[in-house]
């Protein structure tokens, strides 16, 4: 990868990371079975999935860009789907509730006034505990989470590969691997917090009205990633 392409790849990867947070269902009050979504903050959850992706992408660094991106995406998606399965088991047998989307039940989700799950077609409304905002991760949020994890994992792996190709000529191999790993982790963590500002701590994924705010995140992440990419490019290539 040419240095200037690598810089553009860092920017693109940062933006992908920013977008992925909008797709992964997350809500901190989920830990009390009081909201739909995985029971932790959006930025933390995306960070966890992204780290799993970067760790897995590192194994295949010698096999070319396409494989690196695919491994990052698949490992992130594996992490998210296992977390959703674990969370649903905890909800089903620990708390005794079945997964239900709060926003769909109240008829305010993206596809319209229907209270049915978009993919499975199951009615959500009767299954919600009154006074809560849904619980667990129904099928539609699971699909959305998988899409988000694939986007985020691709973004993280892209940044890893780009930084590695910037550092490869100037550092020895082991150092280049680890330093590009920590820098891509850093870029992931920076970009996963900006969407959390937009989401105000809770999202149900791509069927949530908050998806309409994605352009704000996109522009913010674009600007921030550009500044970081220029500084990294400056440090690695210019001076």
């Amino acid at each position: 990868m040419e240095p200037i392409t690598a810089m553009l790849a860092i920017i693109l990867g940062g933006v992908l990371v920013g977008i992925c947070v909008h797709f992964i269902p997350a809500s901190a009050t989920g830990a009390m079975s009081a909201a739909t979504g995985i029971a932790t903050g959006p930025s933390m959850l995306s960070a966890g999935a992204g780290m799993a992706g970067i760790l897995s992408a590192a194994y295949s660094m010698d096999s070319g860009l396409a494989v690196v991106l695919a491994s990052g995406a698949s490992a992130s998606a594996l992490m998210i789907s296992l977390t959703i399965l674990g969370g649903n088991i905890a909800n089903a047998f620990g708390t005794g509730v079945s997964p239900a989307s709060g926003q769909t039940a109240s008829g305010q989700s993206m596809p319209g006034k229907s209270t049915k799950d978009v993919i499975s077609g199951w009615d959500q409304k009767p299954y919600i505990t009154p006074g809560t905002d849904g619980h667990g991760m129904p099928v539609q949020t699971h699909i959305s989470g998988l899409i988000g994890a694939v986007i985020g994992g691709t973004g993280g792996a892209l940044v890893l590969f780009a930084v590695y190709s910037l550092l490869f000529p100037i550092l020895e191999q082991d150092a280049a691997f680890t330093i590009s790993g920590i820098i891509s982790a850093g870029i992931f963590l920076i970009n996963s917090v900006l969407p959390a500002y937009t989401l105000v701590g809770k999202t149900e994924g791509m069927f949530d009205q908050k998806l309409r705010r994605t352009p704000k995140t996109l522009v913010s992440c674009l600007i921030v990633s550009t500044v970081i990419a220029i500084l990294i490019y400056g440090a690695a290539v210019v001076i």
Binding site: G30, A31, M32, S33, A34, I38, A39, T40, G41, M44, G48, I54, L55, A58, Y59, S60, G64, V67, A70, S74, A75, A77, L78, M79, S81, L82, T83, I84, L85, G86, G87, N88, I89, A90, N91, A92, F93, G94, T95, G96, V97, S98, P99, S120, W122, Y127, T129, P130, G131, T132, G136, P138, H142, L146, D174, F177, T178, G181, I182, A185
Partner: protein, 293 residues
Amino acid sequence: MLPLLGTILAGLLAFLAGIFEDSESNAGSASNPNSQVQLAPQIGHRHRYFNKAISGEPPANALWATTAATVAVLLAAKFEVFNPVYSVIISSVIGALVSTLLLGLYGIFSHISRIASMKTFKQTLYWDALYSALPLDLSFGFLTAFSLTLLSFTAGMTLDNPFSVPLIAFMLGITIGTIGSATGDIHYGAERLYQHHTFGSGIPIAKQGDIDIKGEYGYRNSVDTPYFTLRFGAIITAFAFGLLIFLDSLSRVFVFSGAWSSVIVTFGMILIIFIVTVLLEKYTRDRYGPFVR
């Protein structure tokens, strides 16, 4: 043979780490359910929980794992003359001890400081609530850091991850913290803290903070919590994290279509997990039925 052996070892260590991590966070009532322990004095429930709010679970676990792994790597380089396996294990123990010391200090500071901030709600600082729960929390913290360090060494040495061991530990720490707070904590936050509420319902927003302050006998303190959550919440965390590490490593054992085989296998696994999740949802809907008051 070596990759398969490493995969099994990694899966085992990850499973153990998951159990210990969730028990550690529950013993200290960390992460998201901590907001309920924070809310309790505000609505008049003065409690005797160990309020160890170091940070969200991901950064905290990343610190324990990274400290242990960094110390262990530096020490293992000094012990290189001995048998490599022994040197790794001994230095991991010492590294985990260092991180346990950090965990203890951070835990003491946050409990005392958070209770001090509750003056308006007349919350008393009970010393024995801190000192009886702390050793339990520290031992789980030690075991978490130890298993994560060994897991990082396994990933770095037998599975050939190109990252240095502390970086692997850092990333695994963030991931295990995320999984722990997303799966096992539901059992603590939605069931253990609210055992006097009906089983089979989420906790309504209006009821939040109304936590159980009475235990099986006397007032409840945080020592009782892992006793309860170890049976289910910790196992779920271990199941999710152990399976993640095991399946991710296992996918790389296959070589049927070159570098792409691990990706194909992983996506196949994701499809199976998706189907299981859908079946689980159908099962709960059929079995529990709509919500009845």
